[in-house]
């Protein structure tokens, strides 16, 4: 691929701010004609936001976009489609009850004089399109019967039928097998040959090196570098992704760990969990790193009894524990702060008090009647201890800021004085101040003897807070580091698969 | 996946059990094939009833059977259990077995039309009984004369009150022919022959006993003086009687109902209800069969054959 062509896409000086967060800061992205352009960066680096601006989902606060040499406005996804920009999302958007042909030509079916669909023509056009792309699928098949890979092909065909010149693929291989990935790559080559440019987002570096012509690296909402792939090594890409940044302020390390509290042996729930084992000690914060989808959340849910497992044992204080529901886990002294605060943690239309004491009503009730004086006193205690900013205890949680909402969820569990606390992305989407408070709190709890398992996608957080760090990749535990040995590069290398689990990196 | 089918299957089983218990096949309901085709001058009539789960239609069937026996014709009875679909297929069977004429008591005035049209095509004359049909060619409709029944009730109430007083009318479901005709006869008679009677309230209680209770409770609140009540059916009048008794005003009021259901007869015996107008389903069945036989023998029959109603009072029950 030559660098001489005029770029098909230029995004220049793109800046986007969300309340309290600068998601994109003066980002530039250039894609050449007939190029497969890799876009890499950690979770939260701004890739997704940038693509949402490109496809009209968000509007940039500053910067401009040129497409095929002309400045363009993309006020909505429809406008992007008309320009010839298409995106294949990680979560496929096919209609499972409809046929391949109907999915591809949805809303644009060839119509007869009375507005009826001309089915023969529809199937003929679909077959022609699939043939041209070398996709081997019968047009009449119900899409719900296809594999994920085949459904993805349908989406790609649909994008191409809309005459897309630029195709964005967001983690297209996350649900594919190796063989399916090979087929996808061949299709990408075909697309290139047809003159289509592709922005390829992936965490899997080996794929980036296999398929991409050039790579753009993003970090913390900034453009870091764009280079032809042959001028890079995987190690360099990881270094660029992780970078060196201003050291956040994290609490000092703890007093050291106590006895073994929780032992997980061979938890198995494929495809997301494959014979996972871990040990968690009292008084320590164990960080669990890995990419989104690597099985970290699935592990937390399995330990907490939310999802049933196919195999595996959970031992607590040296006793085999039977945990079939969150209720069982709670009885064993566990607590779980889930990753999706609004979807899984909070009762948004209920008050701060109700949200805080919901998990301990048994203890706060007599004959089933809630002792409101105690419930309020307990809530007030945590509102003060955790500095939850709310006008009153009877405020709807819905009206609180993200950080205060998260503190409410944490307070809910602290009230039960658990001996094991699992926190899944405890500081996602909350401001820096609240973040530091939560980190300090976690350290205090650990020092008081609690065993804490923290899942985080933010490497600085993992490195700054954890006493020990585990890395998961594709449902497996692939590495363990002590606080001292861990670096962002090393964690990232294992999380992306740039480094394979081998004896030398594993902690004793 | 399996459990998705469990509940529907359960329902199906329940439905089967219920329908099996609810419909012990009446002795006459021989399979249609066994009903000998009308050959050699022998007349076979098909009687398609909406339901046999109601004594009214059982009486109707018995009347029809007696008339058929007397006339020496064969009668095949089918029961639709109030299911229009079931009725349609039962009539189809009757048409297939080439009955001489069809007597239909429709489950639904509109749903029955295709069946009547099918009979028309097959050249089988159709008579409707009790309920009419919304279309198709019908030789004759045999039904109670609800207008006359309404007049009968009015006459009784007028005499009972000595030609003077305040009367309440509890109406049936608005838009039904029974409610329309019964109200029409009642009000016509009152305005023509009984000027001393004032209708002080006219409200619907939808042929329903519970609504008869509450609506009449409300009317009792609105009207300090009520001398008589006419309800378009017995269910409503029985509800009204409960309301009046609870309010301690039952003794001041003369109650007249319609239909002569068992509870109403009992209420007349107990002296709570003054009168009710009885339809005569047996008579209806008899007239239906006789009309059909006449027609098949080449005689002219009128389009509408009213079936007389009878006033039931404490006197007539003795």
């Amino acid at each position: 691929m030559t660098d001489t062509g005029t770029p098909i896409l230029r995004m220049v000086g793109i800046t986007k701010t969300f309340p309290g967060v600068r998601a994109l800061d003066n980002v530039t992205l250039e894609v050449l004609p007939q190029e497969v352009h890799g876009l890499v960066g950690e979770n939260g680096a701004g890739k997704t936001t940038l693509m949402k601006i490109l496809t009209g989902v968000y509007q940039a606060d500053a910067g401009h976009i040129e497409f095929k040499g002309r400045p363009v406005q993309i006020p909505n996804p429809r406008a992007a489609q008309l320009l010839g920009i298409a995106i294949i999302h990680q979560e496929l958007a096919v209609l499972p009850e409809m046929s391949v042909a109907e999915n591809i030509f949805l809303g644009r079916e060839p119509a007869g004089p009375l507005g009826t669909v001309r089915w023969d023509e529809l199937y003929r056009q679909t077959q022609a399109l699939l043939d041209r792309l070398g996709i081997d699928l019968p047009p009449r098949t119900r899409v719900g019967n296809l594999t994920i890979a085949q459904q993805q092909m349908v989406e790609i065909a649909k994008a191409l039928s809309l005459e897309a010149d630029l195709l964005v693929m967001d983690e297209p291989t996350s649900a594919l097998t190796e063989r399916e990935t090979e087929i996808l790559f061949r299709l990408i080559e075909t697309l290139k040959a047809h003159g289509v440019s592709i922005i390829y987002i992936s965490h899997r570096l080996e794929e980036i090196f296999q398929i991409c012509d050039r790579v753009t690296v993003m970090r913390d909402g900034q453009h870091i570098d764009t280079r032809p792939i042959d001028q890079l090594t995987p190690q360099e890409v990881v270094r660029l992704m992780v970078g060196r940044r201003i050291k956040d302020i994290y609490p000092p390390p703890g007093k050291g760990r106590g006895p073994l509290k929780l032992e997980v042996r061979g938890l198995h729930r494929p495809p997301r969990l494959r014979h996972v084992s871990l040990k968690l000690y009292s008084g320590e914060i164990l960080g669990l790193a890995g990419l989104v989808g690597s099985g970290r959340t699935d592990l937390a849910r399995a330990i907490f009894g939310v999802d049933p497992v196919e195999a595996g044992e959970i031992w607590i204080d040296g006793q085999l524990a039977t945990i079939r529901s969150p209720d069982d886990a709670m009885a064993q002294g566990m607590g779980l702060v889930p990753e999706d605060r609004k979807g899984q943690g909070l009762f948004l239309q209920m008050t701060v008090r109700q949200n805080t004491v919901i998990a301990r009503l048994k203890e706060l009730s007599r004959w089933g009647f809630i002792d409101f004086r105690r419930a309020e006193a307990e809530t007030r205690r945590f509102v003060e201890e955790l500095d939850i900013r709310t006008p009153s205890l009877e405020q709807l949680v819905h009206n609180l800021s993200g950080g205060n909402q998260q503190k409410v969820v944490i307070a809910r569990w602290l009230g039960r004085a658990p001996s094991i606390l699992i926190l899944d992305e405890p500081t996602r989407g909350i401001d820096v101040g609240a973040k530091a408070e939560i980190h300090t709190l976690m350290r205090q709890l650990a020092d008081d003897g609690m065993a804490i398992l923290m899942i985080s996608s933010e490497l600085p957080e993992v490195l700054g807070v954890s006493d020990r760090i585990l890395v998961m990749r594709e449902g497996r535990m692939v590495a363990e580091f002590s606080r001292e040995e861990a670096t962002q590069d090393r964690i990232m290398a294992y999380a992306t698969g740039a480094a394979q689990p081998a004896q030398e990196e594993l902690a004793p | 996946m399996k459990r998705r089918f469990l509940f529907p299957a359960l329902l199906l089983v329940m439905a089967l059990i219920v329908s099996a218990c609810a419909a012990p096949p009446p002795p006459q309901a021989a399979p249609a094939e066994e009903a000998a085709p009308a050959e050699g001058g022998e007349i076979t009539l098909g009687l398609a009833l909406s339901t046999l789960n109601n004594p009214f239609f059982v009486d109707l069937r018995d009347g029809a059977q007696a008339a058929a026996d007397a006339a020496g014709v064969k009668l095949v009875v089918v029961d639709a259990q109030d299911d229009p679909g079931k009725q349609a297929s039962a009539i189809e069977d009757l048409i297939q077995s080439k009955v001489s004429a069809l007597l239909i008591n429709p489950t639904d005035a509109d749903a029955i039309v295709p069946s009547i049209e099918a009979a028309n095509e097959a050249g089988i004359p159709v008579f409707t009984v009790d309920r009419s049909a919304a279309g198709g060619e019908v030789v004759s409709h045999i039904a109670s004369d609800n207008v006359a029944g309404g007049r009968m009730a009015a006459e009784f109430l007028c005499n009972a009150l000595g030609g003077e007083g305040k009367v309440v009318e509890l109406e049936g479901i608005p838009g039904t022919s029974a409610a329309r005709d019964r109200g029409k006869g009642f009000n016509e008679y009152m305005s023509e022959n009984c000027p001393g009677i004032e209708i002080v309230a006219r409200q619907t209680a939808n042929f329903n006993r519970a609504e008869g209770l509450t609506v009449f409770e409300n009317i009792l609140q609105a009207q300090p003086e009520i001398d008589g009540v006419f309800a378009h059916n017995d269910e409503m009048i029985l509800g009204a009687i409960e309301a009046a008794e609870a309010a301690g005003r039952a003794d001041e009021i003369v109650f007249v109902g319609f239909d002569a259901i068992d509870d109403a007869i009992q209420a007349i015996k107990e002296g709570k209800l003054a009168a009710t107008v009885a339809q005569q389903p047996g008579e209806m069945g008899r007239l239906a069969v006789e009309t059909a036989v006449k027609y098949l023998n080449g005689e002219d029959v009128p389009e509408y054959i009213p079936v007389d109603l009878a006033l039931v009072t404490a006197e007539t029950l003795k």
Binding site: L346, F369 | F7, A210, A222, A246, D263
Partner: protein, 308 residues
């Protein structure tokens, strides 16, 4: 909880305003409306819908629906009346009827909770089955003539307050206490708000779903006792479309179909509006041809006011 949010306070006031406006209008149009006997009359009349609506409020609060209450009412009434006519002691017959209602409700609950059948479908099935069973049990005939002791349930009075009003009052107070003062009530709101989160704090969602349907069935049966006592007759066709009046009362009262928001205060006002409206239409002797139109218009108006 809804007590404290500005929006829902407005909602609560909105429905109260609608109710007051309706009462003012009716008292201007009819001098009979605002009399003590008529007020007692209206209260007595709303007891049946009111009691059913308490159960329906619980069901809608957990984002489910119960279409079967009318049929359950009919079947339990029939069975109770039959037991009474067979000479069973009154309390035992009542107990059997209530237990049957609870059982039918529990069946709804178990099928909905354990087998993940949408409650719309489950209770639609129960609506048909229970009605069919009631018709079968009596061969379509009403059971009339019940002992005086039982009829006191409908006609009796304590200190001038009709027995049905007392019973409904107790049901409302208990229902309110459970909802606002107990662990179970808190869990019901939590499940309606966010079932996923409810499960993650250890609430046994299936158990509470089943319990809520059980309560709805039990209350439908209780309402059936009162109706039967008032009519001195149990009818297999009783309660047709009662579910619609109950749902109307609940929704008029501001309980959200998506669950988790609302309560019994609103439901009481909703039931009152429907009862007062029926009463007013009769007092004013509105022609039956206009009645439904007027009723629909007033309900729509009330809803509009409290959505403001």
């Amino acid at each position: 909880m809804n007590r404290y949010s500005l929006g829902s306070i407005l909602q609560r006031f909105g429905i109260a305003i609608s109710f007051v406006l309706l009462c003012v209008a009716l008292s201007l149009l009819s001098d009979r409306f605002l009399t003590l006997p008529n007020i007692v009359n209206v209260l007595r009349q709303i007891t049946i819908n009111g009691i059913i609506a308490v159960g329906m409020t619980y069901v809608i609060l957990i984002a489910e629906i119960d279409l079967s209450v009318g049929s359950v009412l009919a079947l339990t009434s029939i069975v109770t009346a039959d037991m009474l006519q067979k000479g069973l002691p009154i309390p035992l017959a009542i107990l059997i009827g209530l237990a049957l209602g609870a059982l039918l409700g529990a069946v709804n609950g178990v099928i909905t909770a354990k087998f993940r059948v949408p409650s719309f479908i489950t209770t639609l099935g129960m609506l048909t089955s229970a009605r069919g069973a009631a018709l079968l049990y009596t061969e379509g005939r009403p059971i009339t003539g019940l002992p005086d002791g039982f009829r006191a349930l409908g006609r009796g009075e304590v200190a001038g307050i009709p027995a049905p009003v007392l019973i409904a009052g107790v049901v409302f107070v208990l229902g309110w206490l459970i909802l606002k003062r107990t662990q179970a009530g808190e869990y019901i709101y939590a499940i309606g708000n966010n079932p996923t989160a409810a499960r993650l704090v250890g609430i046994s969602i299936d158990r509470y779903r089943t319990l809520v349907f059980l309560v709805a069935g039990l209350l439908a049966a209780l309402a059936g006792m009162i109706l039967t006592a008032r009519l001195n007759s149990a009818q297999p066709t009783a309660g047709v479309a009662f579910e619609l009046d109950a749902i109307a009362a609940v929704v008029l009262g501001g309980t959200s179909f998506s669950g988790g928001v609302g309560g019994l205060g609103g439901t009481l006002l909703g039931a009152l509006i429907i009862g007062v409206l029926d009463n007013g239409l009769n007092l004013l002797n509105i022609s039956s041809l206009y009645e439904q139109l007027v009723k629909g218009a007033v309900i729509a108006l009330a809803l509009l006011i409290h959505r403001k």
